[in-house]
Structures are given as structure tokens and as C-alpha cells.
């Protein structure tokens, strides 16, 4: 391990990792689904609720000021974490799914008409497919798809023709199934050259890499809190100020208005315009604490640690199981994160995950909310082990040992 990254100290920060089930330690390999939470996040949320909690933006009392400062402070932390220009370009949503729906609903309805083209890729999560399908059904927009290479990267040979005439290109920065890290800047440049905007689903990318929305030249970027050590219930839409300003509101209600009359309403300024109703206040505080925590580790160190872990995982699994294991996605570590989807012998992923559970090895089995990609892979499901800052070689060995156990049961 890198001298700059002490995984034992990281593990000690996560209370749940000291839990034993049936006398065995927990081997949590499902962080691409949702990450565990460090003591620092849990404490920040508890302290806030015990000491400072109140509604925000509305009242003059001391608590309301403290609460509003904490909430807006979290927005500032998010802005700095992704190197956005302005705090009010950061919109808090319920999750990344809602953020993508916000873009499709608000930007899409204001800018797309029948026949307009939106380009997606075969590796998208359902959250970056279904909102566009809904718009296609309602508006008659046309979807085009970037296909994949055999090793699970985007096949960009015909990107120019796919983007020709397109209004938007919405793509994942990192695949939640294959672990593929896409060339975001190349893709945003291609989108802009074609006159399209670039919408980046960065759910799997932000928790594991340095994110710079300006260097990416993105127009919109979404991610969730719960995958980067923060709580569930809050996500982020970052958007370019001029785009957000020109968009109609998404949800209507309190907080998003400047004025409401019997004959209509006018919108508040950014970011309130897109934050109708009481927001996830405590969750924002938790997200801010999670960002502080990751900044202390250093995102460059996080990425280095994960490259080492995924390298060891691939090496261990391939050397122990050879042709009996098929790991999907790129082998080049430069373009892959620490998310491993695999097929093991002929054992169905659901059965695999059941057997691994006996050893407290938590992996996801299923279609990973990416059914179009599953069809490309020719599978109905895969097993997926995903590693994060608190995983080490012991977890890789525990996974491999548990896979041996699965072979014994199914004796294939």
C-alpha cells in the first residue's frame, strides 16, 4: 500500500466494519452500490441534529442562522470538491436519479422537440436511460447509442456521426458494471463540436477520482452522496449557470419562488429555483463532512489505493481461478476503477452472492440497473465486487476463498 494511504486507519474510522456476523468479520464489497459511512460523517450529522438543527432560509432566530450556514456551507464544500465556479451552480436533489430527471424534464422540455437527437451509451445506468425514454414517448425525441468494444470501453469510431445533429450527449464518466472510466474531456469536446450539450453521470466517478467540472468542460454533472461516504437522501446536480438560469423550474412549491399570486408565480434565483420544499438539511451536513473526510485522505491517494486494490484483485482471481472466472471490463488499470463484474463457472450470480453471504462477503448480484448493458454482455445478471477506501488484500482473499466454497456446493 501507498505510504500516504493507511488503510488500517481508514478502516478504524468506519464503525460498521468492526461488526461481526456469526463470529466472522464483515467483507463489504458493494460500495459501487452504496458506501459505508465513517464516524466523522455519523458524528457530524448527530451533532447537527443535537445542537443546531432547524429549518433553513426562513427565520431570524439563532438556530435558523446556524442551520442555514451549515446547509450553505455544505454547498460550498461541494463546489470546491468538483471545482465549480459558483456555489449556486450546485443544486441539491434527492439523489443522482432525481438530478438526471431534473435535467431531462426541465432542460429537455425547454430545448427538445420531436425528432431532436439525444445520444446515450450502452453502458448507462437506467437513471440515464429511462428519463430520456420518457421524453421520447412524450416528445418524440430520438435516442442514438454509443456501442461498446469487446473489452467494455466506448466504441468511439463513429462518435462523430452519432453526434451529428444531436442536441445532447448524456454519458457515464465511469460504468457501474464494467468499471470503465470514460474519456470525459474527449466526449464533452466531441459533443460541443457537434453543437450538443454534455451531461455527465459521475455517480461512480466522483467518489473515486479528482473531479474538475471546468477541466471536463461539462455542461451538467450529477452524483450522489451515499456512494462517497455521505448519507443517502441527497444528491447533486451541478450545471453551468447560464443553462440553469434559462431552464424552467422542475418541482414547484415553497422555497423555489420569488412571488406567488392568484394568477401565477415567479421563480427564485439559483439555486433555490430548483430546490422546492424543505431540503435534506442534515444530509447536506453529512455530505459536507464526507467531502471533508475524503479531502483529508486526498482524492489522488484514493485513486492510487483503488488502482492497487483492483490490480491485486484481478491478479488474485485470475491466478486462482484461471478460465473459470471471466472479469468484464477493461484490463488497463488507467481506464478502469475498482468495480469488478464477473462470471464464475456456470454458477448463477444470485446463487454466488448467496454462498458468499455465508462468509459475510457482500457483493451485488443482478442487472445493476443496466439491463441494456446486460443484454450486450449476453447475461441476465452478473456478480459484482466493488472496492473502496476501506478494502484491503484480506477482502480480496476472503472473496476468493468464498468463491471456492461456491464451487464445492454446485460441484461444477
Amino acid at each position: 500500500m501507498s505510504a500516504m494511504f493507511d488503510v488500517a486507519r481508514v478502516q478504524a474510522d468506519f464503525p460498521i466494519l468492526s461488526r461481526h456476523l456469526n463470529g466472522r468479520r464483515l467483507v463489504y464489497l458493494d460500495s459501487a452500490n452504496s458506501s459505508q459511512k465513517p464516524r466523522q460523517v455519523i458524528d457530524a450529522m448527530s451533532r447537527f441534529m443535537e445542537y443546531s438543527y432547524s429549518p433553513i432560509n426562513r427565520s431570524a432566530y439563532q438556530l435558523a442562522v446556524e442551520s442555514t450556514d451549515a446547509f450553505e456551507g455544505a454547498r460550498g464544500k461541494v463546489r470546491a470538491f468538483i471545482n465549480a465556479r459558483r456555489d449556486h451552480e450546485v443544486i441539491f436533489t434527492k439523489n443522482a436519479t432525481e438530478a438526471l430527471n431534473l435535467v431531462a424534464h426541465s432542460w429537455g422540455r425547454a430545448n427538445l422537440a420531436a425528432g431532436d437527437v439525444v445520444v446515450l451509451t450502452h453502458m448507462e445506468h437506467h437513471a440515464n436511460i429511462v428519463p430520456w425514454h420518457m421524453l421520447a414517448a412524450e416528445r418524440g425525441i430520438v435516442l442514438r447509442w454509443v456501442e461498446l468494444t469487446a473489452d467494455g470501453q466506448l466504441d468511439l469510431h463513429n462518435l462523430g456521426s452519432l453526434l451529428d445533429g444531436a442536441k445532447a450527449f448524456a454519458f457515464s464518466a465511469m460504468s457501474n458494471v464494467l468499471g470503465t472510466i470514460n474519456p470525459v474531456r474527449h466526449l464533452t469536446d466531441a459533443a460541443h463540436a457537434a453543437g450538443a450539450i454534455a451531461i455527465v453521470d459521475a455517480c461512480q466517478f466522483v467518489p473515486h477520482n479528482i473531479t474538475d467540472v471546468q477541466a471536463m468542460e461539462a455542461d451538467f454533472l450529477v452524483f450522489s452522496s451515499h456512494k462517497l461516504c455521505g448519507p443517502s437522501g441527497i444528491g447533486v446536480l451541478w450545471g453551468r449557470e447560464d443553462l440553469l438560469d434559462a431552464m424552467p423550474p422542475f418541482l414547484g412549491g415553497g422555497n423555489m419562488i420569488a412571488d406567488v399570486r392568484l394568477d401565477g408565480f415567479s421563480c427564485a434565483e439559483l439555486p433555490a429555483k430548483f430546490e422546492a420544499g424543505t431540503p435534506p438539511i442534515t444530509e447536506a451536513v453529512g455530505l459536507g463532512a464526507a467531502i471533508d473526510y475524503l479531502n483529508c485522505l486526498g482524492m489522488a491517494n484514493v485513486r492510487r489505493h483503488e488502482m492497487e486494490i483492483v490490480d491485486k484483485a484481478i491478479t488474485t482471481l485470475n491466478s486462482r481461478f484461471g478460465d473459470d472466472i471471466t472479469i468484464h471490463g477493461p484490463t488497463n488499470l488507467e481506464v478502469r476503477g475498482a468495480t469488478l463484474s464477473f462470471a464464475f463457472r456456470d454458477i448463477h450470480p444470485h446463487d454466488l452472492s448467496q454462498v458468499l453471504d455465508q462468509a459475510n462477503v457482500c457483493v451485488r448480484a443482478g442487472h445493476h440497473c443496466a439491463k441494456p448493458l446486460m443484454r450486450v454482455l449476453g447475461a441476465s445478471a452478473t456478480a459484482r465486487a466493488s472496492f473502496y477506501i476501506y478494502n484491503d488484500e484480506r477482502d480480496i482473499d476472503a472473496l476468493a476463498d468464498a468463491l471456492e466454497g461456491a464451487s464445492d456446493i454446485f460441484s461444477i
Partner: protein
């Protein structure tokens, strides 16, 4: 935690490795229904042929799934084939009751011998897998409903 031996009984693994009544039937005269397990992505098709006397003349299953869904489907086909449709519905209700999914209509059913299917009762200890075990049965019920409405 319940042990895996409760789940992966030998007879289940046998049906998984050597599924009975796999394949397709010509539609029509048979009817087909498709079932999805939205949690894991499994998809199966059940084909059902009910004859003029209301007997289940043939039933086949295609598609893919885990050991529990595939073995349950295989055992189901054996349990219902050659039986009157009404009897098949009784077996469905009894099986779902074993999966802790009782049906109001089951009150008058009396005892139903599930035979090999009893091996699947361990699934109840793994609640996530109940959907796997019942996938074929729900799909089969759709087929029965289609057969009745088209008869």
C-alpha cells in the same frame, strides 16, 4: 443465520442441473407468458397447453435463472403436468402458502401433497429468494388465466 444446506438441497441441485420439461410449445394451441424478476433480471417463459377436458396436456419452461428459480420451475412442471387445471391451481396455492404467501382461496383446498416441492421450503428462511422460487409459479398462473379466457 440459516445454513446453505437448508437452501441447496440435493434434489434442488438435481433439478437445476437437469431441468425437466425445458423448451417451448407451439402457440397456439399453447399459450405462453413471460415472467421477470426485476431484482436480478431473470426472465422465464412458461408454455401451457390445456386440452378440451381442462387437463394440462403439456407445460414447458424456457429462459434463465438461478438454481432456485430454475429448480422450482422444473419441479412445478412435474407437479402440474397431466392434472386438471383446477387441481393445478390448488397446487399453486399450496406452494405459495409454503412460501409464506397464502391465498384466501386456499381455505377450502384441504391437504395438498407437494411431493418433491417440499424440498423448497427452506427458501422461506432466505426471504430475498422467495421471488426466485415463485417466479415460474406466477408466470404459470398467468398462463392458466390466459387459457381460461381463451377457452
Amino acid at each position: 443465520m440459516p445454513g446453505l444446506e437448508d437452501l441447496y438441497r440435493e434434489i434442488i441441485l438435481d433439478h437445476y442441473r437437469t431441468p425437466r420439461n425445458r423448451g417451448q410449445l407451439e402457440t397456439p394451441p399453447a399459450v405462453v407468458a413471460e415472467g421477470h424478476n426485476p431484482l436480478c433480471g431473470d426472465e422465464i417463459q412458461v408454455y401451457l397447453l390445456v386440452d378440451d377436458e381442462g387437463m394440462i396436456a403439456d407445460v414447458k419452461v424456457s429462459g434463465q435463472g438461478c438454481s432456485i428459480s430454475q429448480s422450482s420451475a422444473s419441479m412445478m412442471t412435474q407437479a402440474v403436468k397431466g392434472k386438471p387445471a383446477a387441481e393445478a391451481r390448488r397446487i399453486v396455492r399450496a406452494f405459495k402458502a409454503m412460501m409464506s404467501l397464502p391465498d384466501e382461496d386456499a381455505a377450502d383446498d384441504g391437504p395438498v401433497n407437494l411431493g418433491d416441492l417440499e424440498a423448497l421450503q427452506g427458501v422461506v428462511k432466505f426471504p430475498v429468494r422467495i421471488k426466485c422460487a415463485t417466479l415460474a409459479w406466477n408466470t404459470f398462473t398467468q398462463c392458466l388465466d390466459h387459457s381460461v379466457s381463451s377457452a
